[in-house]
Amino acid sequence: MIEMNNVYKVYDNGVTALNGVKTTIDNGEFVYVVGPSGAGKSSFIKMMYREEVPSKGHVKINHVDIGDMKDKQVPYLRRSIGVIFQDFKLLPKLTVYENVAFALEVIEENPRKIRRRVMDVLDKVGLKHKARFIPAQLSGGEQQRVAIARAIVNNPKVVIADEPTGNLDPDTSWEIMRIFEEVNATGTTVIMATHSKDIVNKIRRRVIAMENGQIVRDEHRGEYGYED
């Protein structure tokens, strides 16, 4: 369960990205985060895996305040959350296989199990045949799918995706959405920032709409849109 209580985020340069955000996301939910460019969607999401800490207010993951969390515990928090970053954040020197395997090596998983699981996931996102390529040798959409594979490879309790279909054609996008639905069906929370009206309106789930760092709408089975 993710709880935010009156969360403010002011970056070093004075920009207020979150301006009093209050919400609760239960385990197993599927949530879209929508809003115009610069609304604070990425900032909102970054609070959940502690890439950024709130300037004011509290963020609790399973009742633990991440502000009070010890540095040593942060890696464990992050392992329980699979994140697809807006800019992918792939390790440029590692192959596709190694990039995905990394998330399992970190938790000291058995090497044989790693191999099986990584190949399974790459197959799911349609990149099994590019396992030995490095990111620079992939198209934009392929890189995005590697990021998706890495996020779901260790069966995290929460999957957070920041515009996971921005570089994908509609067909591939629907395939990825199917994967997210599958993951969600097994009880995993899915939180997804997106600009895709099509997807939000077709696969109806909870929609959190943001503007100027605030939540302007929070609707179950909602539509795309962020005008209040």
């Binding site: 992050r78 994140v83 954040k89 020197k93 990394f102 970190v106 090497p111």
Partner: protein, 297 residues
């Protein structure tokens, strides 16, 4: 740490050397050049030190025996000297031998004095060597108190000066080596720091994916060690080969009797081991220190 994880770290560390090839070249290059410099300077300084030691140990005490002393007295004096525990060895030199040596020392100047051989004004002498140059003064004053001693001379002024000069030279040498080593450490860790800073994004990503700091640090530890070890290969080869060459060729040419180089074995080996240790240490240290910076939350 599981054994599999350990193997992984070692594999990653090694792979990283290959993946970041230009950084590896730069870091290994920095280690190599600075260690070569350190090695060359150490070879020079340790040998100069050895030479200084030799010069000092050449210094001795000359005990001038009373012209009136009988043979028995002379023997007794010798026995007394032999019982002193700072004395390494000593020998007797008759006044005739002394004159001969003097004439020889003076070269062409001395020829004039040969005429006076029949009327030798010199004393018989005991030449005494001590274990350490520093003991000369003490032993000399003890001997001065013995009977049948006319005078004692240990070239006090010359020896003192020499000792002082050697002391200076050593201070300068130690300062230089320390400076050189510090420079080497600074440059190498600097270079390694740069190679790692260039990978700060990588480290950031690892942390975002949930890697513990120790997990991130280990491959860098291995990488730093290997950088240092590989970087010390050429310096070690130069020491082993180059010093051999110098030793063979130079030792004969340097025909001043007091100059003698340290023997190749074990000196070259000891130095090599030292270089390896310095390389590995600096590599690890530079590497781990630099990573630390990016592991702050």
């Amino acid at each position: 740490m599981k054994i599999n994880t350990f193997k992984r770290h070692f594999r990653e560390g090694t792979k990283n050397l290959v993946r970041n090839s230009w950084m590896t070249v730069a870091a290994v290059g920095a280690v190599t050049t600075t260690l070569v410099l350190v090695a060359a300077f150490l070879m020079l300084m340790l040998n100069l030190n050895q030479i200084a030691d030799n010069i000092e140990s050449d210094a001795d005490i000359r005990v001038f025996i009373d012209l009136s002393a009988e043979e028995d007295d002379i023997d007794e004096l010798g026995q007394n000297i032999g019982e002193l525990n700072r004395v390494e060895e000593f020998y007797f030199s008759s006044k005739d031998e002394e004159l001969e040596a003097l004439v020889e020392d003076l070269g062409e100047d001395g020829e004039a004095w040969e005429l006076f051989e029949q009327d030798n004004p010199l004393n018989d002498v005991y030449v005494v060597e001590t274990y350490e140059a520093e003991d000369l003064a003490g032993v000399a004053s003890t001997i001065e108190g013995f009977s049948n001693v006319d005078d004692v001379d240990y070239g006090s002024e010359t020896v003192d000066r020499l000792l002082q000069f050697n002391q200076y030279a050593r201070y300068i040498g130690i300062t230089f080596i320390a400076a050189l080593l510090l420079t080497a450490i600074f440059l190498i860790s600097n270079t390694i720091k740069m190679t790692i800073t260039a990978r700060r994004d990588e480290i950031g990503i690892m942390r975002l994916v949930g890697a513990k700091n120790s997990f991130i640090r280990w491959p860098f530890f291995v990488e730093g060690m290997l950088t240092g070890v590989i970087g010390s290969v050429i310096p070690i080869a130069l020491v082993l080969g180059g010093y051999h060459f110098l030793y063979i060729n130079l030792n004969d040419r340097l025909n001043f009797q007091f100059i003698e180089l340290l023997p190749w074995n074990p000196f070259a080996w000891q130095l090599s081991l030292m270089l390896l240790a310095i390389g590995a240490f600096i590599g690890i240290w530079g590497s781990v220190m630099s990573v630390r910076k990016f592991l702050k939350v």
